[in-house]
Symmetry: C2
Subunit: 187 residues, 2 copies
DNA sequence: ACTATAACTAACCATTCGTTTAGTTATTTA
DNA sequence: TAAATAACTAAACGAATGGTTAGTTATAGT
């Protein structure tokens, strides 16, 4: 009936994601998004509803980005060694594509931890729960540890992963490598 | 010459600190500060210059608050066991006095990691450097580890402490205890 | 080619931000 | 007690925020 969009929503949401990743939600303004995405506010609002809608779509894109790492993690069968590989892969993905730092999900988790945004908080909690479950499964492979120990170690790894994502924003590659190696020394 | 202040700067900056601690710098508005501190914007500006001045003063107050923990940490001589005690004490201080979460210094470190605020970034870096140095000293007590191992372990502890502060905002006491216990198992 | 309509531009909301300032009140000191 | 002045109140500042809308342009299907 009328003219088509000049932009691809997939392309512009990828750019928005990078900006949110770098600056967090609150510190990314619509003006910055307009500039980075190369489209007008009107287009953003007609495509994504509002700022939060765009952010949720960015989170979805991010999860797609790290999906391959998770898939590899799920499908392998080397127990603890897989978790370690997963840690290294998680850090690696934060180093590509420019200046973005840490894990977008973890950053969001921290930024919204005191807020009361139900939609976003639910997404964060489910992400963490799923990750913990995966750790438990991997820790159970080829192991005769009892459940209590496995749960304790899963908690340990969850917090380690969380802290690693936080630290990867401010620490050097060497420090991070030292941390990962030490983390897995006694599991 | 003229009338005296109705408020104590020490008292109101303590209240400001609690608010910054709970919400971070950007998410704490002057309006919120007025309400929490119980004084007018004018009084805030005349006492502390501007928002950043008030924040720096809050940081100073916070450092005073955790000063006793650091002092105890410095003066004891049980090596690694002291570091563990320090970790537990650091977590404990985050649980008192209401809903404030995590470590104000670490929260600030994270919030400003991408900004270019020289004054604040310098304070954060020096705090971390000092802490690392302390870890190195404690790890060297009654130990025949070579320097490389000690440095690696210091990096490990620094990131663990950083991650712990981040995690203490969102995780349970049990998860945190598990994490600390596991952390020191590896040393 | 015409028209309906979606995509676009750009100006403009109301609100909130950190900060300032004009005007008033209280109290210290001479 | 009276003058000087710091502490106070409250309103307003410009800039920036997320969000909207009136008006224009391009293109789809008839």
């Amino acid at each position: 009936m009328a003219r088509n969009k000049k932009y691809s929503e997939t392309v512009v949401v990828e750019k928005a994601m990078r900006l949110f990743w770098r600056n967090g939600y609150a510190n990314t303004s619509m003006q910055m998004l307009e500039k980075e995405m190369g489209i007008n506010k009107f287009s953003i609002y007609s495509s994504f509803g509002n700022k939060q809608g765009l952010f949720l779509e960015s989170l979805k894109t991010y999860k797609g980005k790290i999906g391959s790492i998770f898939k590899e993690f799920k499908n392998s069968n080397n127990g603890i060694e897989d978790i370690k590989t997963f840690f290294y892969n998680s850090v690696k993905i934060c180093r590509v594509d420019g200046n973005e730092k840490g894990c977008l999900v973890t950053n969001t988790y921290n930024e919204f931890s005191e807020k009361e945004d139900e939609i976003i908080n639910e997404q964060m909690t489910s992400f963490m729960t799923d990750l913990k479950q995966l750790f438990i499964e991997k820790l159970s492979i080829n192991s005769n540890k009892d459940e209590e120990v496995i749960l304790k170690q899963a908690n340990y790894l969850l917090l380690a992963k969380h802290g690693l994502a936080a630290a990867s924003r401010v620490n050097t590659e060497k420090e991070i490598e030292d941390y990962i190696e030490m983390t897995f020394k006694n599991l």
